[in-house]
């Protein structure tokens, strides 16, 4: 009951999915997929979001309760979460309301800035990593510089051939390496999926 039935759901359901991918039969395509799986998946998926909310809320309330380092900032989390929810649930999600205003003027600028910060950290990490200590690192450094320079006007001013070289790097060696990696990833993911389907891999069920 605790582990066997969930395992059976995965194995039997998974095998039906395998057959679904190969068979255009009405029962599989319409009854199983459209009438059973999709509505059931949508109906249960919305509660998964609540799990995330509960998890973060518990983490922050524990932080406050335990007076963990930087616990005061958890109040900012709660305040912004509650205000956003109230704005969305009471005011609605249409453009012009508080909810969308907060998204456009608080959330979006902050997340864009957060990602742009990475430019600085990537530059400093690149300096440490790329100090051309080995021939391989040198190749990586040259490929990165060529691709970066080819995208800015300065690069084109330095050499008119730079965009062509950059495109060649992307189309030939980059394509070959990505394809090789993709094939490896594909084989690995299929092997892992088969392990789950056959009940060999059960870590997703948790302990006990």
């Amino acid at each position: 009951m605790k582990k066997t039935i969930p395992l059976l759901i995965v194995i039997v359901g998974g095998l039906i999915w395998v057959v679904w991918a190969f068979s255009p039969h009405y029962v599989l395509q319409e009854v199983f997929y459209n009438q059973f799986y999709l509505p059931w998946a949508y109906a249960s998926a919305s509660f998964a979001m609540l799990l995330g909310v509960l998890s973060l809320t518990m983490m922050h309330s524990n932080k406050i309760k335990m007076r963990a380092p930087k616990w005061q900032y958890s109040y900012f989390f709660f305040a912004s979460f509650v205000i956003t929810c109230l704005a969305g649930f009471i005011g609605g999600i249409q453009k012009g309301g508080l909810f969308m205003w907060m998204f456009e003027n608080v959330q979006m600028p902050m997340s864009a800035t957060m990602f742009s910060l990475l430019a600085f950290y990537m530059a400093s990490a690149a300096y440490k990593a790329f100090r051309a200590r080995s021939p391989e690192a040198t190749v990586l450094l040259i490929a990165a510089i060529v691709v970066m320079l080819a995208q800015v006007p300065l690069g084109v001013k330095l050499s008119k051939h730079l965009p062509t070289i950059s495109q060649w790097i992307l189309d030939v060696p980059n394509l070959a390496s990505k394809r090789g990696i993709m094939l490896g990833v594909g084989l690995g993911s299929v092997a892992t999926s088969l392990k789950i389907l056959l009940g060999i891999e059960r870590s997703y069920l948790g302990g006990d």
Partner: protein, 200 residues
Amino acid sequence: MSFELFSNLVGAFFTLCIFSFLYKDNPFYQAAEQMLVGISLGYGLVYTYNRVFVPYVYQTIIIQHQFVLIIPAIMGMLYLLRFSRKLGWLSRYPIAFSMMGVGMGVPMGIHAAILVQMRQAMVPIESFNLFLIFIGTIAVLLYFFFSKAHKGVYGKFVNVGKWYMMIGFGASFGLTVMARISLLIGRIQFLVNDVIGILK
């Protein structure tokens, strides 16, 4: 002060709060970081409610009377028992239901990540570039084949795969950095044009 300017000033304030981390970790950054998490979570919750819960749970069960969907709704609620020590095992049911999709991943994964890539790699070698791509793909694949020691001629050939990957990683790194730089330019343009420009 116009509403647009006020909105831009709010955006500028939070942008500067995040940028302040470049100097050092400080209370403004910490507060802004937590607010970003809180707002993102609230945004996700409200959107899930409006775009998933209302059309696929509330409307289907209450308005369209498809009462069979009460079963997956209750099953979804079992997710929340994940935190219970006694009833935590019940959360395995919705997890198992979502893991069923792994079955679809097998044929789809074989098709998208293996067969399509192999088909594209096995085109007639009509140019030097196609030859380089073919050699590179084989060399990269063999680089991750550890059942044979990377020694001798085989080791040298496998080493070619490493060089290909270094070029690939360099290209990916360059593209990622440029994407981040363009975001940075966007933020600076916002501060200069939309905030300082209007203030002038």
